[in-house]
């Protein structure tokens, strides 16, 4: 009897913490998304589904922009990270850990501080652009900050290590004998890569997409710092509605819309890849 209760005793404190401060708040937010009212007079649950339709029609451009930026940054991460992960996994030799450590180095500096550092580097009269303008390589009014490009580049920068790691782990597991076997069967190096190595690394790419696409699409730090006022994402709107306008019902409805879209996107992507169980890949 004691043995059977033991696991429950172990998970009780942490499980309760997650239930009270993660699961219950989600339910509270769900109920908020169907409420009407304001901070002064209080909020009442009126099953006001219009919060969703109004949110979608008012902020559709930010929502679409978030998804486009999310997809662009995720694709950029895959393209930039794959060769790095490949080289470290197959040619890193004894220094594999050192290279991985170097890739993870940015995590030792605050995310916000790193993003401001880019703003500083890429400023209109900053240390990168102003010499190029002085020697006439760039027009005087050229700018990077406050463009969509800067936001996508910043997002790519901040989340690249999250893509390198899972792809590396997947490639590291590929048995070199399989590549040899492919070559023995007269596969050219490109064929061996496309037909053997690449398919085996797809679970890693999937995990990487999971770890980048979701936070990237919901981010508002990069768009605020690097995007100026014309490139706001849905995260900016949610944060603003919550903390400045205190329009909790509208903000809650937008949060759920965002999460639903991201979940659907991930599951469609999993289906397309042929992954049977998203959770299985993710929790492995």
């Amino acid at each position: 009897m004691r043995r059977r209760l033991a696991p429950y005793a172990l998970i009780l404190p942490g499980g309760l913490w997650l239930a009270i401060f993660f699961v219950v708040p989600m339910v509270v937010m769900l109920s908020f998304s169907l409420m009407q009212g304001d901070v002064v007079n209080g909020f009442r649950l009126t099953w006001h589904w219009q919060n969703y339709s109004e949110g979608l029609s008012t902020y559709d451009s930010q929502l679409i922009r978030s998804l486009i930026y999310g997809v662009l940054a995720t694709v950029a991460c895959i393209v930039l990270a794959y060769p790095v992960a490949y080289w470290i996994a197959f040619r890193g030799g004894a220094r594999k850990t050192t290279y991985l450590f170097l890739i993870l180095l940015p995590f030792f500096v605050s995310f916000v501080l790193r993003t401001f550092s880019w703003k500083f580097l890429l400023a209109d009269d900053g240390i990168v652009l102003s010499p190029l303008k002085d020697i006439g390589l760039l027009p005087q009014d050229f700018h990077v900050i406050a463009t969509g490009f800067a936001v996508v580049a910043g997002l790519t920068y901040n989340y690249l290590p999250f893509m390198v790691l899972p792809i590396y782990v997947a490639l590291e597991r590929v048995d070199p004998k399989l590549i040899e076997a492919a070559q023995d069967l007269y596969a050219a190096p490109t064929q061996a890569f496309l037909r053997v190595v690449f398919p085996l690394s797809l679970p890693g790419v999937f995990a990487g997409v999971l770890m980048t696409f979701v936070p990237v699409s919901a981010d508002y730090v990069n768009s605020t710092v690097l995007g100026g006022t014309n490139n706001t994402m849905i995260g900016n709107i949610i944060q603003n509605l919550y903390l400045v306008n205190t329009d909790y019902p509208q903000a809650a409805a937008l949060s759920f819309t965002l999460m639903a879209i991201l979940l659907i996107g991930i599951f469609l992507y999993a289906k397309a890849l042929g992954t049977e169980d998203v959770l299985e890949v993710a929790t492995r």
Binding site: I11, P13, F32, F108, Y157, I238
Partner: protein, 278 residues
């Protein structure tokens, strides 16, 4: 005669392929370093401008080398308070999530029980849900309960999002352990607590430590969830966010540099200890 031999060698297929492979390797090697430089560029700038001899608060152009910001590290009182908040919150949150996460990790690694699937699902959701949504929902919860936001709501939030990371790390270590060792300790008369303290804990300790380091890093760096639940309390990232309109003082760079250095020392130290144990 010798010319024909060279010709023969060049017509064999193996050699050009190997040569191409070597070029490809070199290209990839250069590319990997390019990415590493790109990743480290903003860090280098941050460190360098902590040594910049600026006159006012603005720290935008290089004025000469100085150590004075290291000497005047604590001369911006709000910033110092924010840094102390960040450090103490990270410490409390790490302790909390280390204990709660380790217990969950032990349960998940050692037992099969009803409800395991839902616990895994909740943990997976807590790891992968967008921070904006998690921060917003927790704020909704505190608003609904009329709880004022501040220092302790930040601690609660940080324990919430980092405990699953500890649990996952500990679980994977527990799975590699032989349950017979624990049973042997009990057969030799050790009680549950004694067996845990003297047998299980030392074996899972590297994982607990790794999970705790991760929790600390997540906590001290967190901006989004914290910004929703901080009230008027400021942490280091929140202070930077609020101050940047007027320009960041060099002390920010110095503190960033010191946190960076401490983090690297801890990580390298941990790796060295782990290697020596093996």
């Amino acid at each position: 005669m010798s010319a024909t031999i060279v010709d023969l060698e060049e017509t064999t297929t193996a050699k050009p392929r190997r040569a191409r492979g070597r070029w490809g390797d070199r290209l990839l090697y250069g590319y990997t370093w390019l990415i590493i430089v790109w990743l480290c560029l903003p860090i280098a700038v941050m460190i360098a401008f902590g040594f910049n001899d600026t006159k006012g608060r603005l720290n935008l152009t290089w004025q000469g080398f100085t150590f004075k910001w290291y000497a005047q590290l604590f001369s911006v009182p709000d910033l110092t308070t924010a840094l102390v908040n960040s450090l103490t919150i990270a410490l409390i949150a790490t302790l909390g999530s280390a204990v709660l996460g380790t217990l969950i990790g032990l349960a998940l690694g050692r037992y099969r029980f009803r409800g395991q699937g839902s616990l895994n699902l909740v943990q997976f959701a807590a790891i992968s849900a967008p921070e904006t949504v998690m921060g917003a929902s927790l704020l909704s919860f505190f608003v609904q309960l009329n709880v004022g936001r501040g220092y302790w709501t930040i601690v609660v939030a940080h324990i919430m999002f980092s405990l699953s990371f500890v649990a996952v790390t500990v679980r994977s270590r527990v799975l590699t352990l032989d349950p017979a060792i624990d049973e042997a300790a009990r057969d030799l008369g050790a009680g549950g607590w004694t067996a845990f303290r003297l047998v299980t804990l030392p074996m899972i300790f590297p994982a607990v430590l790794a999970g705790s380091l991760l929790a600390f890093a997540l906590s001290i760096d967190d901006f989004i969830i914290t910004s929703f639940n901080s009230g008027s309390t400021l942490t280091f990232p929140l202070w930077i966010w609020g101050a940047q309109k007027n320009g960041l003082p060099p002390q920010v760079n110095v503190m960033g540099t010191l946190i960076f250095a401490a983090g690297i020392l801890l990580a390298v130290g941990n790796a060295v200890i782990a290697r020596r144990r093996r």
